[in-house]
Subunit: 434 residues, 2 copies
């Protein structure tokens, strides 16, 4: 498909400048970003002669920008949205979440991932970093629906040890080549769910493939205290001392990090993925985002799974990142809107190893969203980046395109999706598992 | 207009039970809420014979509930949305907000209030508690657009003292009778902007009319500290000692309240209106909501004005109320979703003295919203109230009805509104004042 998007405002994310012009998409990639005034030149320079457009879309002055990157989620947990909230963390996890998860199979997770994908699209999320139980059926759901998905294994000592490692290696080899929408990284659940032997095996696997490693890290104070009791050091230091981070990677949550932990992140070039909605709802704490930024650590944003958030909405996360930083520092100037917008786009691409999705530029993948500026919450147009972070909501997502395909437009999903069937399946599954 | 809403789920807010059935609206009021199975009986009991419906709306299983009450806002500040953010509070207020506000006139505020009303409607807000500079043009905008508006005077020592009092009394007499959509209460800006003499005059006015009084209260730590230096007591105690709260009323923000302040709120039956979006963005702090609830204080929710929030979105506020309480108490079970939903509806009605708008019941005013449950963020339907608070967004507002009139439906505003002209005016005004 060749698609011409014209009469647009454009935020490329290479700078905070708002351009006026056009974005051209040829199949899965961006062909041109510019003012559209030099079209003959452009055709000639691109040696195209001319292009037959499959669609020409008048953006009516609305904003085109790179899609949001959800850098930490568990898509299949849509099942448990609003299933058990307002409970202390341990009760929630052990009495409600784990017993249901133990009964979930790959086919269920296939359907529940589809439900999550619908929601990502409504929030302009064009790529997710997903850790969940059945990577094959997650991959199937994403490819079928056209979602870009970076999977990461969630190895833990609760699984069969050898099987868990073996599956991770098999997926690592398979899903980095299987489909252009998919990639796969080595990861483990968290220090408190893994034995030392498993952590050492993770390090060995990372070394074998010179691969980065990702994990839940320093989410709660008690997790860090427990690790100090068990190993005499913080989780970040433990992982680093085992060689787990020798080829990079990062941590999800990163709420309770000390100076030494941050130095490890700097030294290894790790990404800190913040999940403020989840950290708020589960009363885990407020991450020290200002300090990460001061140290030049790459900060990305994740929604976490819908059981702990409960929605998959990058707008709410963006407001929370800056809002909670302001509260933490008691400084209304902490972590400004532009920094947050970078976290939700370019920093996410970096954390997820998707360099071709970070900005709007010729040659990059066409993961593009259109933001409806003709909604009252975007008016007046004093400052579009600040409007996005402080006032934006799902209601403003007018179009979501992944890999050149429009999957959500003007409140409607791609025709190929059977939305009612997806909703029906989710309700059927929770009823069957209760 | 007689409107029949059928095939609905119904959350009356009298309990958390979800009914299935119909809501009938006759002109400005609710005629019937029930399962719709006893229609002949109902017609007979209501002595109607039959009703000629102007519209019959198939709700397709979506949810009807009372509209949200925004219990503290400054609508006209839409002008300054994203105009000056990420600044320390004092710089923001004195260098950016005040100089522009000094140049705003009644006609400008008329147009800017209209912009705010569009946004309220997209978030299912059916009544606002508005404090702003030109009450007559605010009233005009609300009546023209059909918005329910409780105004409150924002007297301060910066205005001409006598004029300010006189205008408040004139508005109090006029706008409690002028139009059924309007009401008006006595209020003043805050302790730190009023002289003692003005505060005493406010008390005298409250006594004259046996009227409640509202004000910004304990928003920042420095405000409370300043008051203690000036008067040797907290603002709440000062106001109470002057007799300002003898006929009730309440405070906006209420972040920095001590035990004695809370006892005054209990004793006088005052409402605490929390504004978590604004308190977050301006780094003011987290209000002790759990303690208010324990003491039986009526807690309502406000967005505050769009210069400090920057959006007028009850969904974001609802998540923040519970999320911030959970963080403050470090307890994931603090302030559950149902409490929050009551704050956004029935408690708001109480704080704003709008008893006929609190629940869905025959005889109440028809201020009703329809929530789209057929969106991915509302699925599966494990728990609708929790879905609303933890996962809801503007995208879920399918219809907003005020006083029996549908003003927003399926993403479209009432035909009578000239939306483009409202946006145009807002941009024109900020350009002219820069």
């Amino acid at each position: 498909m060749n698609i011409r998007l014209y009469n647009a405002r454009i935020l490329t994310m290479k700078s905070s400048e708002i351009l006026t012009g056009e974005v051209w998409v040829q199949n899965e990639r961006i062909l041109y970003v510019g003012d559209g005034k030099d079209t003959d030149d452009v055709y000639q320079r691109l040696k195209l002669g001319s292009i037959l457009w499959d669609r020409e879309i008048d953006c009516e002055g609305n904003l085109l920008m790179p899609g949001f990157k959800d850098a930490h989620t568990h898509s299949g947990m849509t099942l448990l949205r609003s299933y058990a909230d307002d409970l202390p963390l341990q009760d929630w996890l052990t009495k409600q979440v784990f017993p249901i998860e133990a009964k979930m199979d790959g086919e269920m997770i296939y359907h529940l991932t589809k439900l999550a994908i619908l929601e990502y699209l409504t929030s302009g999320i064009t790529a997710v970093f997903d850790m969940y139980l059945t990577p094959d059926t997650v991959a199937k759901a994403c490819v079928e629906m056209g979602m870009r998905c970076v999977q990461v294994s969630g190895m833990s000592g609760q699984d069969d040890f050898a099987q868990s490692l073996e599956r991770t290696e098999r997926c690592y080899l398979q899903y980095n080549h299987d489909d252009p929408l998919l990639s796969y990284f080595i990861g483990f659940h968290a220090e408190y769910t893994c034995s030392r032997a498993l952590l050492e095996s993770v390090a060995a696997l990372a070394h074998k493939y010179k691969a980065p490693v990702y994990t839940h890290l320093a989410e709660t104070r008690s997790e860090v205290e427990g690790c100090r009791e068990r190993y005499g050091m913080s989780p970040a230091k433990l992982f680093d001392s085992l060689g787990i981070f020798d080829y990079g990677g990062g941590g999800y949550h990163c709420v309770w990090m000390d100076d030494e932990d941050m130095e490890i992140f700097q030294k290894r070039g790790l990404s800190a993925v913040t999940n403020p909605g989840s950290n708020t709802k589960l009363a885990s704490g407020i991450a020290p985002i200002s300090e990460y930024l001061k140290r030049g650590i790459n900060v990305a944003i994740g929604t976490d799974g819908p059981a702990s958030n409960n929605c998959l909405d990058m707008f709410r996360e963006m407001f929370l990142v800056t809002g909670l930083a302001k509260l933490r520092e008691m400084d209304a100037s902490a972590v400004d809107a532009w920094e947050v917008l970078k976290m939700a786009t370019v920093n996410g691409s970096k954390a997820m190893n998707l360099p071709d999705t970070d900005v709007l530029e010729a040659g990059k993948l066409a993961d593009i969203i259109m933001i409806d500026l003709r909604q009252p919450n975007m008016q007046p147009l004093n400052n579009i980046p600040k409007n996005l972070v402080y006032s934006g909501s799902k209601q403003n997502v007018k179009m979501t395109m992944i890999q050149g395909k429009i999957l959500y437009e003007n409140g409607r999903f791609a025709e190929a999706y059977d939305v009612d069937a997806i909703y029906g399946k989710a309700n059927e599954i929770i009823t069957s598992l209760r």
